[in-house]
């Protein structure tokens, strides 16, 4: 029985020693991280190719967005849509293979 072990100082020091020990690896990892060779060697080699492709893509995207006239597109879509809505469905004589008509004709044969 050693009641002198339990002193407020001991408790205080345990808190900080404990915190330090428990967090030391995490802090160590964060400290060491910049020195780690964490990059992918192959990725670096291909970086120039990536840059060319990305530049081309940017150029294409720019050209397409420049050409796109939102107002004109909207007019075109709404006009076409109205036309289609105005058209009525009509029958055709061409039989689609595998359709109900075709299968009926087949089974009738």
């Amino acid at each position: 029985m050693d009641p002198q072990r339990d002193t407020p100082l001991k408790r205080f020091s345990s808190l900080w020693i404990g915190l330090f020990i428990l967090l030391s690896f995490g802090l160590g990892a964060l400290v060491v991280a910049p020195w780690l060779n964490n990059s992918n060697v192959e990725d670096e080699a291909l970086q120039s190719e990536y840059d060319v492709r990305l530049a081309t893509k940017a150029e294409i995207d720019q050209g397409q967005s420049d050409f796109l006239d939102a107002a004109a597109a909207k007019t075109a879509f709404s006009h076409t849509a109205k036309q289609l809505l105005g058209q009525n469905a009509s029958a055709t004589s061409q039989v689609v293979p595998g359709s109900a008509t075709d299968l009926k004709a087949n089974s009738a044969k």
């Binding site: 061409q94 293979p97 595998g98 075709d102 004709a105 087949n106 044969k109």
Partner: protein, 250 residues
């Protein structure tokens, strides 16, 4: 006597009696924790551990060295099965190889209308078996495939009035040769011969020479195309490499 009148008894221990009252039954009946077992480590355990270390070391040895550049371990991928590589270059008779290729093309392009069994649908699409158009006059047959057919055509004693679209788009000579060989040897047909690639090339040349977007009619076929394709006759039993279609010497 301590439980009768504890206060008056001089050799009673207040700490004890308080403890007795305050303790629960389960705590009271517990054994003391003892740790000082001094049995020596048995030789059997040491041997078992040694065996474990031996197995572990063997596995480590198989890793192929401590190197960050080595991404595959030697011997990890099982070697090819017996006869596996040989099977890939097993030569087969040319008629089988062409027919197999042709079957694939048939299922992609033709079976929608002419059905997987080649019987057609009885109303619009004629059967391909026992038909003169498929079994004789290979030039006519090839032009039907490449150009499509419009207008009445007589097959199997009936007149058919469907419309067949042209199939020339994307059709290579190999494809055409395989397709024609397949149709001429299936669905009840058994011509037993092979349309060679040379013949198919001639067929495509004739199609290009016709140079018309319209499907071909029976009248046109009967006037110009009722003959066989030109080209050296290939013995259907010749063995070829299924991949390269090159005849393999026996």
């Amino acid at each position: 006597m301590a439980d009768q009148k504890p206060d008056l008894n001089e050799d009673s221990n207040v700490l004890e009696s308080h403890a007795e009252l305050a303790s629960s039954a389960s705590s009271a009946r517990e054994n003391q924790l003892q740790e000082n077992g001094m049995e020596p480590v048995s030789l059997w355990i040491i041997l078992a551990c040694f065996f474990g270390v031996l197995v572990g070391g063997t596995v480590l040895g198989k890793s192929g060295g401590f190197s960050y550049n080595n991404l595959t371990a030697k011997g990890y991928v099982t070697s090819q099965p017996e006869g596996g590589l040989e099977k890939a270059v097993q030569p087969k008779p040319i008629i089988d190889v062409f027919a197999k290729n042709g079957a694939k093309i048939y299922s992609a392009k033709c079976q929608g209308c002419h059905q997987p069994n080649g019987l057609g649908d009885g109303a619009n699409f004629p059967p391909l078996g026992n038909s003169e158009w498929t079994t004789s006059n290979t030039l006519a047959f090839s032009q039907i495939i490449l150009n499509g057919v419009m207008g009445p055509i007589e097959v199997d004693g009936r007149t058919w009035n469907g419309a067949m679209p042209a199939q020339a788009a994307g059709m290579t000579p190999t494809d055409l040769a395989g397709l024609m060989t397949y149709i001429r040897n299936s669905f009840g047909n058994s011509t037993g011969d092979v349309i060679s690639i040379e013949m198919a090339e001639n067929a495509i040349a004739a199609y290009k020479e016709r140079n018309s977007a319209a499907p071909i009619t029976v009248a046109e076929l009967e006037s110009k195309y009722m003959s066989d394709l030109e080209g050296a006759v290939v013995d259907p039993a010749v063995k070829v490499d299924p991949e390269t279609l090159i005849p393999v010497a026996e």
